[in-house]
């Protein structure tokens, strides 16, 4: 093994040699630099491999041939190897990315670059306090020097000012550090870190002040809030490749230094570290919210991530041996993603977040961007996800709920600005300046992408080894979804066929595993999904990005129903959330709606995570079935968290505002997927929850009862809002909210028939809502508008769409003889045994309201007056019509023989609710209260209808179709369809009577919340005045506050 000393030596020698080179031989100098960095990386990699492949113990390197305290020693262990590899590789790749700049600045800059990387490695390797000080100072001087040398490239003075602010701060820091070191030395007689730890520095006389000074100095290097203005200015102004190093490598080195310090400080200082970390994490994310400058935003995010990792280090008393896994996962996620983003920012010309829209023309770069933000947000399968999962679980196990809550809250804010940014990338107007696709710069980004996925795999394996979890990346559905990334250059129809085949095949492979309950969901998710995908055949071209997103969602859904442990369940949940977010974002105007979707979804997901974590109480493996063993006082909390999480997905009232926009603005074939199929995931979650946990009492409130109320109010408000929509797809979207309310109500009834009704709603809603969304989508595609009042009279031009809509609305409204009636009939039977009568009354009110919006839907689009501009409109494309016709057939079949499906479910439900089931006596379905004979109804209605129809045909046999305007209206023949088509503000009187119920209070609430966060961030950030002196005051203030707290908790 090459001694790690060579990491330092090689860099120093090379830096010296660069000084000897002639100024003109820049190419050579550059090569020397890169080779040196590669060599340093290689040494680290070698060591890393040694520690991974064998159980080697860390190696001590004594510089002067003697052991400490008489000489400085370095240590190379697993962590050191990994971190130096990270630092050196970042140095190498950043060096590559800033090739142009380095070549222009010449050998001096390259030498300084080498010294900077070396110094950072040194911080990681050394075990000597003073040596660490020297390396820190070297890093500072090298950083400042780089800024100074690179000045002539930007030539705007901004970087210079930032560098000077940095120097001011570091003057203070180094003073603290030196004083701290000398007193620590005085107290312990050693400069060795382990020596100080062994002599329990903090217990010695004056030792705790000495430690405090060292600690605060190192912490200040982590850019804690609020002493971090200087760092932000550096991030904003420096070369992005340098910022990458500054964020990834400097951050990693400083964190490890803090880790070493905490070793000395002992357990008393852990809470302080945690406190600083969490304040930084929350504040930096909050302050990032109002940012519009990309690099400054990344700077805030870097600071936030560092804060989070500091929290992890501070929680090592409970994280124990898992600290490394968690901190490592977070650190590597942060480092790789942040470096990648900074490199990426080097490709983008503009500095506004909007300017990143230029990436859109390069799918690979978009993929890179997605990878990075998902990695930062801690979504599966990235290492941060595993780390977050374990962290939250361990925190919950120890009852550190406040910390847990703050972490999740702040992570949500972070996701907020990152995904908002992604929305800009996908949807904002692309700037004139193209992306700089110089190979060396792009290569840097791609290396980060590869590293991201490689680390994901590695962390999956580690999680498997440490906790016995499956590697997410090995899950077959996910792999299938990811494979579409590679298939993306293929034509859309081919990918569509593959996708359908894959989903059907997966169903075929797994269908034996499902009990009847899961079978319903499996059929909807997989077979139903495949059916919906038929509509996607209408798309031409390649449809880049559609299939990976869609299949990611379906993969999540497929994994969801097979999940048995909370971990698997949550993974699937996050996957389907992210996949559907990408799908929704594809809509033309869906940017803000997709954002609110992902925010609500992630917020809900965090609730679920917290719920699972609370439930597990630190157990490494927790199966969903074990939820039923939970007892007071934990159980109601778990129930509450999980229920809110799932209700976010079903868009229960209060959490519903994301749905209308998201579903309405989605693409034609995406709306049925996210409405007809995706919403069922939330119901599945609720079913799982109620099956395992049942009724829970929360401070005297029966939570299931509360759910009953929420379901009823959701149904009412959803329906009520639907009738006032002018946009057809928004109308359907609100209708979905109402329908989900019904289903939730059914589940919350907690009796046999209630569940049967809910499941019937699950099936029916899938069928008719998919059908209606397709029909309306087809019409919108042909007419180019979704505003219903602009349409009218399309029945003759689009007869098939009309038929689908007609069948759809009859089914939705519950009018016999179609299948919706079955749902209503079961509903009435179900509530007869329930004690909850008041919410039921609300539901009664909701019922007839459905007629209003349904009639409006079909009338304003298909009936009434045809507009001139649509006289040549054709029927919707074949592939959009085909699934609709299949749905019509399904609806008719289900209407006649509902027993086909329901019978099995009914029998299955007997084991949970033995009483009150239905009996299936031939054609007649009987409950304890009433009876229902679907076939007879169909025949009777059919016979009466046909008889009367024949009669009318007979008496009106000479009826002839008249022209459109053959009506008399105000004693005139009308001639303008626009004035004659009564459609806009269709239910105006209704608004007069009940409009007060539709006041957007919920929207107001949430927008006030976000405004508040924004304003808080905006006001807080004003104290970063830009004045270096003010920053110094911040630093001193920070030191004093931490001192007061620190000394306050000392015994």
């Amino acid at each position: 093994m090459v001694s790690p000393l060579y990491i330092i030596a090689v860099a120093l020698v090379a830096a010296f040699l660069l000084g000897l080179l002639k100024e003109e031989r820049r190419g050579l100098a550059y090569s020397v630099t890169l080779v040196t960095l590669a060599l340093m990386s290689w040494i680290s990699a070698n060591w890393l491999w040694l520690f991974i492949s064998t159980d080697a113990v860390p190696v001590e390197i004594y510089t002067a041939g003697t052991a400490p305290p008489f000489a400085i020693n370095l240590r190379m262990g697993l962590v050191e190897a990994a971190l130096t590899l990270l630092i050196n590789l970042t140095g190498l790749i950043s060096g590559l990315a800033m090739k142009d700049s380095l070549l222009r600045q010449g050998r001096r800059a390259m030498a300084v670059w080498l010294v900077a990387v070396m110094a950072l490695s040194g911080i990681v390797l050394t075990r000597d306090m003073f040596n660490m000080f020297v390396f820190f100072e070297l890093a500072v001087i090298a950083t400042a020097g780089l800024v100074l040398i690179s000045e002539h490239i930007r030539n705007d003075g901004l970087t210079l000012a930032a560098g000077f602010k940095y120097m001011i701060t570091s003057q203070f820091i180094s003073t603290f550090l030196l004083i701290g070191i000398i007193f620590a030395y005085h107290a312990t007689g050693t400069l060795n870190i382990d020596g100080m730890a062994n002599t329990s520095l903090v217990l010695l006389n004056g030792g705790s002040i000495a430690f405090f000074l060292m600690f605060i100095a190192i912490i200040a290097e982590l850019k804690p809030f609020p002493a971090n203005g200087w760092a932000l200015d550096i991030y904003e102004s420096a070369d992005p490749a340098f910022s990458a190093l500054f964020s990834a490598a400097t951050g990693a080195a400083a964190l490890y230094a803090a880790d070493k310090l905490l070793l000395i400080g002992g357990a008393e200082w852990l809470p302080i570290a945690t406190g600083i970390g969490i304040v930084t994490f929350v504040a930096a994310n909050l302050l990032a919210l109002p940012q519009t400058h990309d690099r400054r935003l990344l700077g805030y995010s870097s600071i936030a991530q560092t804060g989070l990792i500091l929290v992890v280090l501070g929680q090592r008393d409970i994280l124990g041996e898992h600290t490394l896994f968690i901190a490592g996962g977070l650190l590597l996620s942060h480092a790789v993603a942040k470096a990648g983003l900074f490199w990426l920012s080097g490709l983008v010309a503009g500095r506004e977040l909007n300017a990143w829209a230029a990436l859109r023309s390069h799918p690979l770069l978009v993929f890179a961007f997605v990878t990075f933000i998902c990695m930062l947000t801690g979504l599966p399968p990235f290492p941060g996800f595993y780390a977050k999962w374990e962290l939250i679980h361990l925190l919950a196990g120890e009852g550190r709920i406040a910390l847990l809550g703050l972490i999740l809250f702040s992570a949500l804010i972070e996701a907020g600005y990152l995904f908002r940014w992604f929305g800009y990338v996908m949807k904002r107007e692309s700037p004139a300046e193209p992306v700089d696709t110089a190979p060396h710069k792009t290569a840097a980004v791609l290396v980060a992408v590869i590293a991201a996925w490689g680390l994901s795999f590695l962390w999956g394996e580690l999680a498997g080894a440490l906790f016995g979890r499956g590697n997410i990346l090995l899950a077959l559905p996910l792999l299938f979804a990811l494979s579409f990334l590679l298939l993306d250059p293929l034509p859309a129809w081919l990918k569509n066929t593959l996708a359908i085949a894959g989903m059907v095949a997966w169903f075929y492979l797994t269908y034996t595993e499902y009990d009847p309950l899961r079978m319903i969901f499996a059929a909807i998710f997989l077979i139903g999904g495949a059916l919906t995908l038929l509509a996607s055949y209408h798309a031409h071209g390649k449809r880049i990005g559609f299939y990976p997103s869609a299949m990611l969602m379906y993969a999540g859904l497929a994994m969801l129903i097979r999940a048995t442990s909370t971990f698997d369940f949550f993974v699937a949940w996050e996957l389907l959330t992210v996949g559907s977010y990408f799908l929704i974002l594809r809509g033309k105007h869906s940017e803000p709606h997709a954002l609110s979707y992902i925010l609500f979804s992630l917020g809900g997901a965090f609730m679920i995570l917290a719920g699972f974590a609370l439930a597990a109480q630190g157990a490494p493996h927790f199966s969903l079935a074990s939820l039923q063993e939970l007892a007071q006082p934990l159980a109601p909390w778990v129930f509450l968290l999980l229920a809110i999480g799932f209700m976010t997905k079903t868009a229960a009232i209060g959490l519903h505002i994301w749905l209308p926009g998201a579903h309405a603005e989605a693409e034609t074939d995406v709306s049925p997927m996210v409405s007809g199929i995706l919403l069922k995931a939330g119901l599945y979650g609720l079913i799982m929850l109620l099956l395992t946990m049942g009724r829970q009492n929360f401070y005297g409130v029966d939570l299931v009862n509360a759910m009953l109320w929420i379901g009823a109010i959701t149904a009412l408000i959803g329906n009520l809002l639907a009738i006032f929509q002018e946009d057809a797809k928004r109308l359907l979207a609100y209708s979905s909210i109402g329908q989900m309310g019904y289903a939730m109500f059914g589940l919350a009834l907690m009796n046999h028939l209630g569940w049967l009704m809910a499941l019937m709603f699950v099936i029916n809603h899938y069928v008719y809502k998919s059908m209606l969304f397709l029909a309306v989508g087809g019409v919108a595609k042909r007419t180019g508008t979704r505003e219903m009042y602009r349409m009218g009279g399309l029945i003759t031009l689009m007869p098939l769409s009309f038929i689908a809509t007609l069948i759809g609305i009859i089914a939705v409204s519950g009018v016999p003889p179609l299948s919706g009636f079955g749902g209503r009939w079961i509903f009435y039977n179900a509530i007869l045994t329930s004690e909850a009568r008041l919410p039921m009354i609300i539901l009664f009110l909701a019922g007839p309201i459905a007629f209003l919006y349904l009639f409006r839907l079909i009338y304003t689009i298909f009936l009434g007056q045809l507009k001139d501009e649509f006289r040549r409109v054709k029927e919707a494309p074949f592939w959009i019509i085909l699934p609709q016709m299949i749905y019509v057939a399904i609806l008719l079949v289900v209407a006649v023989v509902p027993g086909l499906v329901l019978r099995h479910v009914d029998a299955y439900l007997d084991q949970f609710f033995p009483n009150g089931g239905l009996s299936w006596d031939g054609m007649i379905i009987t409950s304890d209260f009433g009876y229902w004979n679907p076939i007879a109804i169909m025949i009777i209605v059919g016979v009466i209808f046909m008889t009367l129809f024949s009669w009318l045909l007979f008496v009106n046999r000479r009826a002839q179709k008249v022209k459109q305007f053959n009506i008399v209206f105000s004693a005139e023949r009308p001639f303008r369809p626009e004035t004659t088509h009564f459609a806009w503000n269709f239910f105006a009187p209704y608004r007069k009577a009940l409009g007060f119920l539709t006041l957007p209070l919920v929207t107001l609430f949430w927008s006030t919340m976000t405004d508040f966060l924004h304003t808080a961030g905006d006001l807080t950030r004003r104290f970063y005045t830009g004045n270096g002196q003010t920053y110094a005051y911040h630093l001193l203030g920070f030191v004093i506050i931490v001192y007061l707290f620190g000394m306050g908790i000392q015994p």
Binding site: W825, I841, P848, Y859, I944
Partner: protein, 301 residues
């Protein structure tokens, strides 16, 4: 299960009786209304004349398929509603086709005709038709609510959804009628009844005046005749449900005639006494006056 084919002629017989009874009754009620207004009113056979005239009219045009089907839907709704509910209690002959479903079927089947009619009128392209429909639909959401509550209270009271069983439970004297055992529910339902009879003060949907507006605006000849047929059958069918649920049902045709007439008269009585509501007024009225009664009735059971 084997189907008893004799049910078909029996059902047709019920239909025939109710049809004629309906024609006469509506004319009679109209005459009462006219007399209350010091007018002479129509002759008792007026409905027959109108029907024959309309069926015989030659000018028949159509605005499209749904326009054509609208009246068919409408009448199917009326006939179906009648036949899904037993007319005469204890009579196998006049239990009609109630084997197909219970009370819930009847309640939801009411909308079958409404929806079809709305669609048909919609295709006529006449804005008055559309306006009438929005008014009708808007009003019905509020008007049906007390009925639904009352029905549910009754179902809870008797623990069944079968109409026959509900009637059976009310036998044995007037005091067993729901009207006396559950007066709140009946009060709520009767207020809802006013809303569904298309009479003042809730007749803004049709808004009879010199220029006809409302859903039937464009309908004429046989279409209109079909709808007029429905106008004779549908109210009776609805009243049959009320009668069965709240007023002990009928064990014979004379009892049937009296009870139906009295229930009908109630709406006519209110109609001649009160002026017309606008839609938002009637919605508020139902929510303020009728719905609380329904809620109380449910909580009271």
């Amino acid at each position: 299960m084997t189907f008893d084919w004799m049910k078909i002629p029996y059902a047709l017989l019920t239909l025939f009786i109710v049809f004629n009874f309906g024609l006469l009754l509506t004319a009679f009620i109209a005459k009462i209304g006219a007399r209350a207004g010091r007018r002479h009113g129509i002759p008792i056979w007026q409905n027959y004349i109108d029907l024959i005239k309309n069926y015989g009219q030659r000018s028949s045009i159509t605005h499209g398929v749904m326009f054509y089907l609208g009246p068919v839907f409408r009448l199917t709704g009326g006939v179906g509603l009648l036949l899904f509910v037993p007319t005469i209690y204890g009579s196998e002959m006049f239990s009609n086709l109630s084997f197909a479903g219970d009370l819930i079927l009847a309640l939801y089947f009411v909308f079958f005709g409404t929806l079809g009619m709305a669609l048909g009128a919609g295709e006529s392209g006449h804005p008055h038709a559309a306006i009438g429909i929005t008014r009708g639909l808007a009003q019905v959401t509020a008007a049906e609510l007390p009925l639904a509550l009352a029905v549910f209270a009754v179902a809870l009271q008797y623990q069944t959804l079968s109409v026959t069983e509900i009637v059976a439970a009310q036998q044995g004297g007037m005091m067993n009628w729901t009207m006396f055992t559950n007066p709140l529910a009946v009060a709520a339902a009767m207020l809802a009844f006013l809303g569904s009879m298309m009479r003042p003060p809730f007749d803004v949907v049709l808004a009879p005046q010199e220029i006809p507006i409302g859903p039937p605006t464009e309908y004429h000849s046989a279409y209109l005749a079909l709808m007029q047929t429905n106008r004779a059958i549908f109210p009776i069918a609805k009243i049959v449900i009320y009668m069965n649920l709240f007023f002990g049902g009928a064990t014979s045709w004379p009892e049937f005639a009296v009870k139906v007439f009295l229930i009908y008269l109630f709406s006519a009585f209110v109609g001649v006494c009160f002026p017309r509501f606008r839609v938002e007024q009637s919605i508020r009225w139902f929510l303020i006056w009728a719905v609380p009664l329904g809620v109380l009735s449910i909580l009271w059971v």
